[in-house]
C-alpha cells in the first residue's frame, strides 16, 4: 500500500501510548535526564538534558548508566 499524502506519518499511524510512557524525564543529582525503564528496579540514562558541559562529564549520569529507581524522587511512585 502506498499513501500519497502531505500528512506526517505520525498523524496517519499514531504510535502506541506505551512507547511514550517507557521514556521519562527525571531529575537526578540536580540534572534533568531522559531515562528509559530497563528493568523493574533500574532505569537507564538515554540523554542528558542540560546546557552545562560539566554534566556531560559526570560519570554517575553518563548515557547508558543504570540508576536505581529508589534514588530518583517521584519515579518509584509511578511504577
Amino acid at each position: 500500500m502506498i499513501l500519497y499524502t502531505t500528512m506526517p506519518q505520525e498523524l496517519i499511524y499514531p504510535t502506541e501510548s506505551e512507547s511514550f510512557t517507557k521514556q521519562q524525564t527525571v531529575t537526578y543529582q540536580g540534572v534533568s535526564l531522559l531515562v528509559e525503564l530497563s528493568d523493574a528496579q533500574n532505569v537507564q540514562v538515554i540523554r542528558i538534558l542540560s546546557s552545562d558541559p560539566q554534566h556531560y562529564l559526570d560519570e554517575r549520569i553518563c548515557p547508558g548508566t543504570k540508576i536505581s529507581c529508589a534514588s530518583i524522587e517521584g519515579l518509584s511512585a509511578n511504577l
Binding site: 502531505t6 498523524l11 511514550f20 546546557s51 560539566q54 562529564l57 560519570e59 553518563c62 547508558g64 548508566t65
Partner: protein, 250 residues
C-alpha cells in the same frame, strides 16, 4: 569487544583476591553498558554553556521516542536559566538538525537573538530549513566546511492552526522566516529568496542546498570553522562584553 575486555580483566585479577571476580569493578560495568569510559571531570563550574539543537525540532505534536528531537519546552527554560545565572558568561549553540516546526524554531531563534550574553553557533553536519534562522540568530555564526544548509520555502506537511486563507497565512509565515534571517545575517532578502526558489538544485523541489563555504560567501553565515575557532570567538565576545559593562559602571 566486551568479551575481550572481560577476558583481560579476569586475567589481571588472577593473582588478586577472588572476591573481586564476583563483583565486577565499576569501570568494567561501565564498559559493558556503553562501550566507553568517561573523561576525568573538571572541578570548576563552566562559564560557557552549550546547547545542542539536534534531530527534528518538535512542535505541537510529540514525536515518538525513537525520533531524536529538540523540544522547545526543554530549551527555553534552559535559555532563561542561562540569562539569569551570573556565572554563565557565554553560550555555544551546536546545530545538526533537519528542521521541523516553524514556530518552535522561530521561538528558539528569537530567544537566542535576544539573549544578553554572547552567543556563537556552529553548524555541523546539517542546519536545514528552520535550522537556518537558529544558526543566524547568534552573535557570530560558524559553519563546518562539510556542513550544509537547505534553504527552501515553507511547506505544509503538518497542521496549521485556525487558518481561513491558507495560502496567505503560509506566505506570511514564510515572510517571518525571511525577515528574521535577513535581519540577523548579512544576506540580502533578494539573494535569500533567490536561493529559496531556485530550480534544479533539489530533486523535484525548489530550494538550494548550501555547503559551508558557499553559506559564508552568500553572507548567511559569518565564518567557516569548527570548535576551536568558535570557542576563541566566544571568549573574545565575552571579553568585549566585559569591557562594555565595565565602561557603563564607570
Amino acid at each position: 569487544m566486551n568479551k575481550y575486555i572481560q577476558k583481560g580483566e579476569s586475567g589481571n585479577q588472577e593473582g588478586q583476591e577472588p572476591q573481586k571476580e564476583e563483583k565486577p569493578s565499576s569501570l568494567m560495568e561501565k564498559i559493558q553498558q556503553l562501550g566507553q569510559t568517561n573523561v576525568p571531570q573538571l572541578s570548576s563550574d563552566s562559564k560557557i554553556h552549550c546547547l545542542t539543537i539536534i534531530g527534528q525540532i518538535e512542535g505541537h505534536l510529540a514525536l515518538p521516542p525513537q525520533n531524536k528531537t529538540t523540544k522547545y519546552e526543554h530549551l527555553i527554560p534552559q535559555l532563561v536559566a542561562i540569562e539569569q545565572n551570573p556565572k554563565i558568561e557565554g553560550v555555544l549553540i551546536i546545530l545538526n538538525t533537519v528542521g521541523g516546526d516553524v514556530e518552535a524554531g522561530l521561538a528558539i531563534s528569537e530567544m537566542l537573538a535576544t539573549l544578553s550574553k554572547p552567543t556563537v553557533s556552529i553548524v555541523l553536519g546539517g542546519g536545514h530549513s528552520i535550522g537556518v534562522p537558529i544558526a543566524v540568530s547568534c552573535d557570530h555564526s560558524f559553519i563546518a566546511e562539510t556542513a550544509t544548509m537547505t534553504i527552501h520555502p515553507i511547506r505544509l506537511t503538518g497542521l496549521v492552526i485556525g487558518v481561513p486563507a491558507t495560502f496567505e497565512y503560509l506566505d506570511k509565515m514564510q515572510d517571518r522566516v525571511v525577515n528574521f534571517v535577513t535581519k540577523h545575517s548579512k544576506i540580502s532578502e533578494e539573494k535569500f529568496k533567490d536561493l529559496m526558489f531556485a530550480k534544479g538544485n533539489l530533486t523535484r523541489d525548489i530550494g538550494t542546498n548550501v555547503v559551508g563555504p558557499d553559506a559564508v560567501e552568500y553572507g548567511l553565515i559569518d565564518e567557516v570553522g569548527g570548535l576551536g575557532p568558535a570557542m576563541k570567538k566566544l571568549n573574545e565576545l565575552i571579553e568585549q562584553s566585559k569591557v562594555e559593562d565595565g565602561g557603563l559602571i564607570q
